[in-house]
């Protein structure tokens, strides 16, 4: 009896640890160019990328954010704290003041995945059901 409770307790702890460690983004996953050094990223570090505080990966490669209008707006809000319009305005301010580079835009999911696959340093939010080819899925912790 004691061992059953112990097993249930352990299983619960593992489950809780999994929930705490991996915080999936609503309806989206994070992908990066295949050359990305890391397979996971913290939520705070991801936000720093999307808000322009982190502009280079640890190997010195510049970060390139790729975006797809409409389909991942909720996820963008979750990651950056800004809705799509605020995000666009933020990066226009960065570009036209000389402080950053504009995120690259794709017209559809397939084009977004292809853009990330072909661009060193690229990172993007894609719908969770996207067909992913030639990119690395990044776990958000």
């Amino acid at each position: 009896m004691k061992s059953i409770f112990l097993k249930i307790g352990l299983a619960g702890a593992v489950l809780l640890a999994g929930v705490l460690q991996a915080a999936p983004i609503t309806g989206a996953v994070v992908i990066a160019n295949d050359g990305a050094l890391d397979a996971s990223i913290g939520a705070a570090a991801l936000k720093d990328i999307y808000t322009g505080k982190t502009t280079y990966w640890r190997d010195g490669q510049s970060v390139t954010i790729a975006v797809l209008a409409d389909k991942t707006d909720a996820a963008l809000k979750e990651v950056s704290g800004m809705d799509a319009s605020q995000f666009k305005t933020f990066w226009q301010r960065m570009v036209f003041s000389g402080r950053g580079q504009q995120p690259k835009k794709a017209d559809d999911v397939a084009a977004l995945v292809a853009l990330v696959a072909s661009t060193k340093g690229a990172i993007a939010l894609v719908p969770a059901d996207a067909v992913l080819k030639g990119v690395k899925v990044i776990e958000v912790k």
């Binding site: 505080k53 510049s62 319009s85 305005t89 226009q92 570009v95 036209f96 003041s97 000389g98 835009k105």
Partner: protein, 401 residues
Amino acid sequence: MKDKMMPPLAPLLLLASLAATTGLPLAAAELQLPGPGGSAVDFHGFISQGYLVSSDYNYLGESSHGSFKFTEAGLNASFNPFPHTRLAAQGFTYDVGPAGEYDVVLDYGIVEYTLNDWFGVRAGRLRRPEGLHNDTQDVDVARTWVLLPQGMYNARWRDFYVSVDGGEAFGTLPLHQAGSLSYELYYGIQRPRLNGGLALQKSNLPPFSQLVWINAPKLGGGQLWWNLPVDGLKLGVALNYDEDLTFRTVAGRQSKGSPFTRHYSLEYFRNAWTFQAEYLRFRIDYDETGGGPPPSKRLIEPDTWYLSAAYRIDKRFEVGGYYTEYYGNVHDRQGKLLPFPSDAAQKDTALALRFDATDQWIFKIELHRIRGTGQLLDTINNPVRRGGDWSMLAVKSTFSF
């Protein structure tokens, strides 16, 4: 001088608007060319054309008759030739009332090295960080309004206020549970122009003596942003000190002083709302010598503040408003020392509608209700100033990529 009815850039904007509405292909949002080291060169740009008309006075141009002298255009390029390194430059031209006259200037041109998130350096011609809007004050796509609160972001002063030649250190320091602290510390030289807004203002105010020389003062300062651990909220403070700003009139009178500026800011995004609030105060003690009259001193200490709110209705429409007050002298807010008491202050209530026709073309219309003449700063074109309210309509269209 009457404004031209069809300014040079209007046909370009007409073309852009036609293309936007008929779906004709235009230049891509980005043009990428292979750059050194295999890095692509990113190009972006914008063209803006505005129209101002006021019920009274000439403000930011001959607005009492309607003025198209409200144009801005910029083109930039950026690429990463080496790890941690970026080169970027932007050319810019503008015409706001009598200032600018479509002179093409290097708006920024930088070499940037980022060691890590905490520390980086830039050198060259920098867009100076101060408050929420100084470094993008002539970039129409970067905000809801046509006109920023002019007491704080004077559209005629950009030659003096926007850029500095020098260097800066920048970065973001994590504060863990307290959020993060972003900083930019800069030092360099300003390049005000004799045909720029500041010089023209001096010439158009008593004693109406044309400026024949203005120096390139050294300027040091910084901008700090506390990014609170609340999504969308940040607080900022900017300080800067100009060393020995000096100008000389045709009559030989020299004014010399060192302005010190304090600027406080708050910005908060919540869902589709954007709230902003700022306060600025600067002080300059001028020593005036030469030209005949005895030496004298003149203290200028204005302050200004505003509150604003904007709401994104949907993908196409955004509405917003702000209220701002400007005082030319904190020691005489009622204008008792002035020949025209209405010059003591300018209070402005603005309501704006922004329409994003496409991802690249926007259109804005804005109504101002203004009390006071504190920001007219032009006795030549406004010889009589009365109390009471007056209005201004501002319309602007921008194509960007």
